[in-house]
């Protein structure tokens, strides 16, 4: 489906919350042997979209580090920018935000479009167990300066 305008933050919030429902169902189905390998609930989920055409949207959840982050994302990691590994931050690539951004950047690359990390609009990050909004962590705020 092609969109002719960007997603709003509110739309991304609703998508993020609906995504949590599917993550919880996946865990239940996995545990009864019906589907996949999602044994446990991810801690946090988020949706993001591109501010530039095509206005793709992707969802992500917290997970162990991305093995091969998209080069645009990697270039924005605090450790890449400063040449040092942050100490008291969440590990880069662990949060829902970089996972969602990585998928979005890959989709844009496949469409031969280049966007910057600052062209990504994020919805709120939500805790999967109870759908309450959680603050973006300091690593994510350094990786994606548009996050406050």
């Amino acid at each position: 489906m092609t969109r002719n305008r960007p997603y709003t933050k509110q739309q991304l919030d609703r998508i993020g919350l609906a995504y949590i429902g599917s993550l919880i169902n996946n865990v239940r189905r996995c545990r009864i042997g019906q589907h996949g390998n999602a044994w446990d609930y991810p801690a946090v989920a988020v949706a993001c979209s591109s501010n530039k055409t095509p206005f793709y949207m992707r969802k992500g959840h917290s997970c162990e580090s991305l093995r091969n982050p998209h080069p645009t994302l990697f270039a924005s990691y605090p450790s890449t920018k400063k040449g040092t590994t942050p100490k008291r931050y969440t590990r880069e690539g662990h949060c829902a935000e970089p996972h969602a951004a990585h998928k979005l950047l890959n989709a844009m690359t496949k469409s031969n479009k280049t966007i910057l990390v600052s062209d990504i609009l994020f919805g709120k990050a939500f805790r999967v167990i109870d759908c309450s909004p959680v603050a973006y962590c300091s690593t994510c705020r350094k990786t994606f300066p548009q996050l406050k």
Partner: protein, 158 residues
């Protein structure tokens, strides 16, 4: 014995099940540490499977369950933008079904150094009827590992 990796523990909410002096216990880690003696992935996943099969996820009622209202308030008060406050059902949906099966159901609220802090969310209202599982719950009852307040376990050493 395979353990959960630390990166996995930090990014997931894992249901852990054990027996504390005869009381069936459930904790949801919420991205926090797992007590080392309970970090047994294969055993825990077998229990997760059995528990999931036995749970009626469509039953949202709190019949037969005592909810810790302080936890509901704790979640609601932690939310800055009140428009995004989840419903009571949403806050309790992963805990009440565990209490209905006979578990005391806890959430980990933080881990400092080697101590994790837990809040009781829901428990059975009647005398404890142990859930009938093929798999034996691992025993975790070393008193030095557990701190109780008012009969409720609030901390585990990890």
């Amino acid at each position: 014995m395979t353990k959960y990796r630390s990166g996995y523990i930090q990014t997931h909410c894992i249901d852990i099940f054990f027996d504390y002096h005869g009381t069936p216990m459930h904790i949801l880690t919420n991205g926090n540490a797992i007590p080392d003696t309970l970090n047994n992935k294969e055993l825990n996943r077998r229990i997760q499977s059995e528990v999931t099969i036995k749970t009626n996820w469509n039953d949202q009622s709190e019949y037969g369950v005592i909810v810790n209202e302080s936890y509901v308030e704790y979640v609601k008060e932690s939310i800055v933008e009140k428009d995004y406050t989840p419903s009571r059902n949403t806050i309790l949906r992963l805990f009440v079904p565990m209490a209905k099966l006979g578990f005391y159901s806890y959430v980990c609220i933080n881990t400092n150094e080697h101590i994790s802090h837990y809040m009781l969310v829901a428990r059975p209202s009647e005398q404890i009827v142990k859930p009938i599982l093929r798999e034996r719950l691992p025993i975790f009852d070393a008193i030095s590992n557990i701190i109780m307040q008012d009969g409720i376990i609030t901390e585990f050493q990890t």
